[in-house]
Structure formats: C-alpha cells, structure tokens
Symmetry: C2
Subunit: 213 residues, 2 copies
C-alpha cells in the first residue's frame, strides 16, 4: 500500500496510527501541503479530490477520507479490531471519532486558516483564538461524552479504536496553538495511554520522513 500524506496533517496522522496499530507496512508518499503540492497535476492524477490522506491499495484502488480509509483497513485486516463488535458500541466509537473529525478538525485545517487570513484579513492572534476556541469547545463535548461511558484505558474500552486514532492528532493540533487541556481528565488520560504505545509514537509527525520540526 501507498499512503499519500503530510507529516503535520491531522487526518494523515489518523491513518498512519491505524496502519501502525495493524502492523501494515506502507510506502510513505509525502505531499507538502504548505508548498501546495496537493494542487499539482501529479497529485490530482492520483487523487481527484486533491486532499490528503489518500491510500492506494495493493490492487491500485485510491481511497480518500481518513475515517473511510480506517474502516476499510479494519474490514480488510480485522486484527487488532479498531471498532467493537456490537452496534451500540460501534456507534459510540464512531460518534467520538466524528465529534473530532466533523466538529473540530474541519475548522482548523490549513485551507480554512488561510481563508481567515487572506479573505477575512484576521490577525494572527485572532486566527489562533479561532483555532483554540473550536478545539476547546469540541474537546469539552468530547469529555462530556466520555464521562457517560464506563471507565476505560482508551477512549472506549481497553484497546485503541478509531476514536483514539482521531483524538491523538487533535491534541497534537491543539498544542500547536497552546490550547488549554485543563478539566479534560478522561480525554487526556486516553491520550496519554495512546502515546505510551509504539504505534502512536511511530505515527507521530516527528517520526515522519518529511518532518520539519
């Protein structure tokens, strides 16, 4: 498999975690978002949406959208499972993942921040305040959701799931703009548990070949 991605892209990081958790080797294909490489014809020929991550399967199918890719990996390589077995538990894990992927991350991805600066002419500080606002508000929702669930080591249960694949990159993102994570005990305990695992360490931006940190 090949993964077109970018070290700092949060959605790319989610897929790298899933690949590492499942022990699946892949070719790392860097696409430099800040330099606009995702808009070049070479990448558009691979992925018509011009978004990263894009996974190219061994059969040559090109798949987009991080949660869709992770579910594909889970269906084709079931162990270790990234979703529980029963429908209610699966819904809980997907809901936690989507609380991040639909409610927080879209508001702080690169093209949105660029629009704020270029079109709305906001200051660097106002941009960072926007970023922190949505991360903080979203993680507070996430924490309230976790607080309803039985005690667990990870976001849901005793093994990492799709929810953890989404949470960890979001915490990395929030740190870049000094978001406060105070008062989020379940969320941060899950984050810490994940970061103690080699899979999350190997997938993190500073472990990537295109890392610039």
């Amino acid at each position: 498999m090949k993964l077109y991605n970018y070290f700092r892209s949060s959605a790319s990081f989610r897929v790298r975690i899933a690949l590492e958790l499942k022990g699946l080797p892949y070719d790392y294909k860097p696409v430099h978002l800040v330099k606009g490489e995702h808009k070049l014809p070479e990448f558009a020929a691979v992925s018509p949406t011009m978004l990263v991550p894009a996974l190219v399967t061994d059969d040559g199918d090109v798949l987009g959208q991080s949660m869709a890719i992770i579910e594909y990996l889970d269906e084709t390589h079931p162990e270790p499972a990234l979703l529980p077995k029963d429908p209610v538990s699966r819904a809980r894990v997907r809901s936690l993942a989507q609380l991040i992927a639909c409610e927080i991350h879209p508001l702080n991805n690169l093209r949105v921040l660029k629009y704020l600066v270029r079109e709305l002419k906001v200051s660097e500080e106002t941009k960072n305040e926007w970023y922190r606002h949505w991360v903080r508000e979203g993680l507070e929702s996430f924490e309230r959701e976790l607080a309803q669930l039985p005690a667990s080591t990870y976001c849901f249960g005793e093994t990492p799931t799709l929810a953890d694949c989404c949470l960890v990159p979001q915490i990395f993102n929030g740190r870049r703009v000094n978001t406060s994570f105070d008062g989020l005990p379940r969320t941060m305990a899950a984050f810490d548990a994940c970061m103690a695992l080699p899979a999350f360490q190997k997938a993190q931006p500073t472990s990537c070949p295109d890392n610039e940190a």
Copy 2:
C-alpha cells in the same frame, strides 16, 4: 425510537432520510437551535454533547453524530442497505459522505456562522460568501470524485446510500445562500434522483412538524 432534531439542521435531515428509507417509525422531538434549546438543561440531560441529531433507541441508548447513527441503523435494520457489501465500495460511499460531512458542512453550521458575525464582526454578505465558498469548493471535489466512478443513478450505484443521505441536505443548505450548482452534472443528477423518492420528500425540512418555512 426518538429523534431529537431540528427541521433545518442538515445533520438531522440526513438521519431523517435514513429512517424514511428504512421505513422506521420514530417520535419527532424538535429542538429549536436558533432559540438555543440545545443548550437547555432538558436537552443536555438527554445528550451530553448538546448537539442534534440525537437518536434514542428503543433500549434507551442515546446516540449522536449523524453518520454514526446511520451506520447503526444500517447494522440493526439491514434492509434496504445504505452501504454496499464489498470493502472498496463501502470506502467509496463513506468517503463521499465524509467529503460533505467533514469538508463542507462543518464550515456552514449555525454556531460557526454565529462566530463569524459575533466574534469576527463580518458582514452578512461576507458570511454568505464564506458559506458559498466552502459549499462550492467542496461540491467541486465531490463531483470530481463521482466522475471517477461508473455511471450511476444515485451517488454510488442504483440505490440510495449514506452518501445520498449527506448530499441532499447539503444541496438544500447551499440553496439557502444561492450557491451556483453549475458544472456539477453527476452531483445534481444524484440529487434529482433522490428527490424523486418519497423518503427524501418526507424527510425534507418543509415536511417536518417544526418547519417554519
């Protein structure tokens, strides 16, 4: 089942479509987002994230996030299926759904528009331009993705899927700010095919008991 939702909420509309496609009866519980009813203690007691839609199952489980709810419905009431059977096709449908639910809709939901006006002090026209920009850019990606797929009546294949549940409300949303849908032939053909079905008609905002149109 009970569905806490709002007639104009795009994410609520997705779940209503899925319920109608599967012929599942439900109690319609209106939550007036513009009046802030989702922030009242009564609703917080039902749904800790204070987001709509929230589905209460017959067993009393409260499930959030529209795509997670629809997958739950599909797993517990498999016919008619809202996802194909093979993993690559499932990934394609989920990816199309997420192109809308993660790339477009989060940027034009109510709380984001409020932030633009209240915190960033943008004008009504600048707000609408923001709205149209993300809808248009996102649907152009969506169209390029559809253009890679075999000809089909709906977004993917000959029956409605999770992708159609997400597309139709996004088109309704875009219409509210006069987005141009020119040059999106596959996308708009899928929309038209959906709207010819009673399930989509019954789920639309003007069919809702709390409709104010």
